[in-house]
Assembly symmetry: C2
Homo-oligomer: 241 residues x 2
């Protein structure tokens, strides 16, 4: 009988918490596809990148206290208002802006996500741990078929990742020790913050997160318990496949 | 073409929020069955009723500010400590008390609940709106097969029903008007409080909530938009069957 590190992890971990934007769903490709359909005159790749580039600075305004608690839907809308003129879309009316802003509720899953989550759900409790708000994550899951057991979000903890209140909040919700929770993400900074709180971590390769024109380095880095090319591969590593 | 009130409701409502204890799951029968197996010498019916009788007074200690925010798991444990001596169980050690307290995570669904929720989920977003904590509701759903789209709880809003923050919180989470949310419950006081906030309401008959020895009056009362004998019947009324 062998007791590989992976089997030890699979025996200890009870909850898998997933980063969502980029890890489970393809925000860049989804926004590009919607923009090409709605506004074919716009550089959809640049538009998607500009919108996403406003994400961390907007959350930083909340983290710093400059803004009170503000959900991602509202932050996406603030960023959108800022970039529309740059892309010749300052004329969009309220209904059009509102519809466009909800594209974040309509993001498509990566091809392996539904199968991977379904396999992992057999053995673990699976939840998002996203900075997206609960309504956004729930609408997205319903449309994309993501089979979450529950929907945890920065909105539940009133704090944005990488605030320790988010990672430790998952453990507290389930009355578990931090090492019984694993964060699954395609972003090293998220995983490092989770690890500093005592969580286990799994890195998922998403080389096309920023589009085929901006391939991301997905070389393994030390520190993560697991490194997988997809959520299906993660399920296999955790003997849930 | 007829436009019955029911069709008007089905067209307006987007989210169904469910009371859980008594409405979706059978707390009395589940606790009786566990007690009969674990401690056959105890009057299981009286024990279940005594534990549940402490529920509203315990939440009132939180609502009044006497206790800070405290989850139902902790409140159930406080009540349990109070009733164990009465039932000759003061000798139970920490592990046994902890296991017994988690019976609230192991409640069985009423026979129609999984089928009814599955039908309703095709057409609506379905979420618990329970005073139970997120971990309890998620563990319960995973065990009983309740197919929630997300898990809302008093814990998300840091307020217990009937605080308006809970009912209005569901609408806010989904960026909806109150009348686009319907509370589904087997308790008139819960439904009345939701209605006062502008939500739609559906009463579900659960005559055996307190056991076969204490049949509950489920006569229809004015005020509710819908009245159904089961969650499957509710789905039929909402044209989701």
């Amino acid at each position: 009988m062998t007791t590989s590190p992976t089997h030890g992890i699979a025996a200890t971990v009870q909850v898998l918490a997933f980063d969502v934007f980029g890890t489970v769903v393809d925000w860049h490709g989804s926004i590009v596809r919607e923009m090409q359909a709605l506004h074919p005159e716009v550089d959809a790749d640049a538009f998607a990148l500009a919108w996403r580039a406003g994400y961390q600075p907007a959350m930083q305004r909340v983290r710093s206290g400059e803004l009170g608690w503000t959900r991602i839907d509202e932050l996406h809308r603030l960023i959108l208002a800022g970039i529309l003129p740059r892309f010749g879309l300052a004329h969009l009316d309220e209904a059009a802006r509102r519809h466009l802003n909800r594209v974040w509720h309509r993001l498509d899953a990566w091809p392996d996500s539904v199968e991977g989550l379904t396999l992992l759900k057999r053995r673990f409790t699976i939840t998002p741990l996203s900075n997206g708000n609960i309504g956004l994550l729930t609408n997205m899951a319903k449309r994309a078929g993501l089979p979450w057991d529950c929907v945890l979000s920065a909105e539940v903890f009133r704090a944005y990742k990488p605030d320790p209140a988010t990672y430790l909040g998952v453990a507290q919700v389930f009355d578990l020790r931090p090492e019984q929770v694993m964060l699954v993400a395609a972003h090293h900074d998220d995983l490092e913050a989770a690890r500093a709180c005592g969580l286990r971590t799994a890195y998922i390769e998403r080389p096309l997160e920023f589009g085929a024109g901006h391939v991301k380095d997905v070389t393994p880095r030390a520190g993560n318990d697991l490194h997988a090319a997809s959520l299906v591969a993660l399920a296999q590593q955790l003997s849930a496949g």
